[in-house]
């Protein structure tokens, strides 16, 4: 057991030494992996930001509820109370029919037409601000409200949300395809790096086998190398994204002020960053493993 720990520690040191042995080549490899990973991950970050920015710009979603014309004030009070107590409702706003008419008069410039009306044709209305933001939950709430008495017309303004959703879905798909392809690239890069390493270490492998090295012992430094290279590539990707976001944010300051809002692009969350690093390290390990399985058995001592 102790021997095993010592062996692993030795291998980790050895792996670093190998990485440092060819600093330029290692650095270039890590950069290539970093760039390859930063493309899908950068896309992912932009999508996440787009989602939250779109939410800010479009304002919170709302459901308009128009009451039947014959609804009494007492019933309106009761409905108001019920709506406020509804779990899916964040807050509500009551729009009395007179106010609605006045607003209509002012905003549309149809004063003459409206003024000529014998009586106010508009119903009383509630504007409901739901807790949830996503389309499905909003639609669920709308369908619920539709079944309430005195609610003549319930309208969910979800078209923007649907558009956003479909854009995001498209974006996610594109990022997914990109991620899959570049993951293969990462595996291929590691595969080739390890293949070259095995070729240059042919003698060492041969001699090691002759003096009693297990396959595991011979394999280990290559696997660690792939793992480490992948991990460092992941860190490089993270830094590339951070740098790009800093640049983008710098130029966004002016734009945001123009629109009177103060949004800035945010980086990967802690969890997402961790996922990135674990994933890149795993791909590096996988590439190395494939390469080792492919090439090591060909080297038999004579």
């Amino acid at each position: 057991m102790k021997g095993l720990i010592i062996q692993h520690w030795q291998v980790i040191r050895l792996t670093f030494q190998r990485l440092m042995h060819t600093p330029i080549a290692s650095l270039l490899n890590i950069l290539v992996i970093g760039i390859a990973l930063s493309l899908p991950m950068g896309g992912y970050v932009l999508l996440k930001n787009l989602q939250s920015v779109a939410g800010q710009v479009a304002g919170p979603p709302q459901i308009s509820v128009f009451l039947a014309l014959d609804t009494s004030q007492a019933e309106i009070d009761r409905i108001s109370k019920q709506l406020k107590e509804h779990a899916a409702v964040d807050r509500i706003e009551f729009v009395p029919r007179d106010l609605a008419l006045k607003q209509l008069q002012q905003s549309t410039g149809l004063e003459d037409v409206v003024g000529g009306l014998a009586r106010n044709p508009l119903p009383d209305a509630f504007i409901v601000y739901p807790v949830a933001m996503d389309v499905q939950k909003l639609e669920l709430l709308r369908d619920d409200l539709k079944s309430w008495p005195h609610f003549e017309h319930v309208q969910l303004d979800s078209s923007w949300a649907r558009k956003l959703e479909s854009i995001l879905r498209f974006g996610r798909l594109a990022v997914g395809i990109l991620a899959a392809m570049l993951s293969f690239a990462l595996i291929a890069i590691t595969f080739n790096t390890i293949r070259l390493q095995i070729l240059t270490r042919r003698e060492e492998i041969e001699v090691s086998k002759l003096i009693g090295a297990t396959n595991g012992f011979i394999r280990r430094p290559f696997l660690y190398y792939g793992f480490l290279q992948g991990l460092l590539g992941g860190i490089a990707a993270w830094l590339i994204i951070a740098l790009s976001l800093a640049l983008l944010n710098y130029s966004l300051v002016g734009l945001a002020q123009l629109y009177g809002s103060s949004f800035s692009l945010s980086h990967l969350s802690f969890g997402d960053s961790l996922t990135l690093l674990v994933f890149s390290a795993y791909l590096g390990w996988l590439g190395a493993w494939l390469s080792v399985s492919q090439h090591l058995w060909q080297i038999e001592p004579r």
Partner: protein, 237 residues
């Protein structure tokens, strides 16, 4: 009590007689291309024995040693090392057999990407010794072959004889129970070859089994031991 001792004695006798020896039984070795390097070899080497292997170039000395180390497998017959048939040995078990063997190669097989010290260190790294213990052992082995002062040197900077001695240091550093030496004195002058033979003898004295191939018949006269004579792949009486 008496029974226990006798069982223990039985066990150690069994180990001495059966497990820790080399046994060739009607061994044939044909290389790809049809050349028959060894023909119908049968012999046994007991634990702690020192055996010389002689014969002209091409007689099959290296091939025989490779069969013991399971680097080559016989085409016919069986090779049994430490109670294990090399032909039926699982590839996962092979490394553990080889850790009991010290191999001294005719072509040295030193690694030129590291210094003398690290070359000798390799077998200990493979077995997972800790650093301080390994360093002690490596220096002891280098001292034994007279290379302690050259531990930092790259093997490429060593003379042929020094390379040979470095190879010996690497073979003995793990204290193997069987030492297989393929022409270990081939490149050495008389003085050093004498010294190497004394090193081997000291290993023999502590119970290591030795098989040493050589084409120098003079050594046999100076170090009397059993000899196996090979001639064109066959054992001479």
């Amino acid at each position: 009590m008496l029974k226990r001792i006798s069982r223990w004695t039985q066990h150690s006798l069994y180990k001495k007689l059966i497990v820790k020896m080399i046994k060739f039984n009607q061994v044939y070795k044909r290389y790809p291309g049809g050349h028959e390097a060894l023909r119908n070899l049968s012999f046994e080497i007991a634990e702690g024995e020192m055996v010389f292997l002689t014969g002209h170039s091409g007689a099959g000395k290296s091939t025989l040693l490779k069969l013991i180390a399971a680097i080559e497998r016989p085409n016919g017959g069986s090779v049994i090392v430490k109670g294990q048939n090399t032909k039926s040995l699982k590839s996962a078990a092979l490394p553990y057999l080889r850790r009991n063997l010290g191999l001294i190669f005719q072509d040295h097989k030193l690694l030129f990407d590291r210094n003398a010290f690290d070359n000798v260190l390799l077998p200990l790294q493979i077995c997972g010794y800790d650093h301080r213990e390994s360093a002690k052992r490596v220096r002891a082995a280098l001292d034994k072959v007279g290379l302690l002062k050259r531990e930092k040197a790259n093997p490429i900077a060593l003379s042929g004889g020094e390379q040979q001695r470095l190879c010996i240091a690497r073979a003995i550093v793990n204290r193997p129970s069987i030492l297989l030496a393929d022409e270990p004195t081939g490149n050495l002058d008389a003085e050093y070859s004498e010294e190497i033979m004394h090193i081997f003898k000291s290993f023999h004295q502590v119970g290591v089994t030795l098989v040493v191939s050589t084409h120098d018949e003079g050594i046999l006269r100076r170090f009397p031991a059993r000899a196996l004579h090979l001639k064109q792949g066959e054992l001479q009486p």
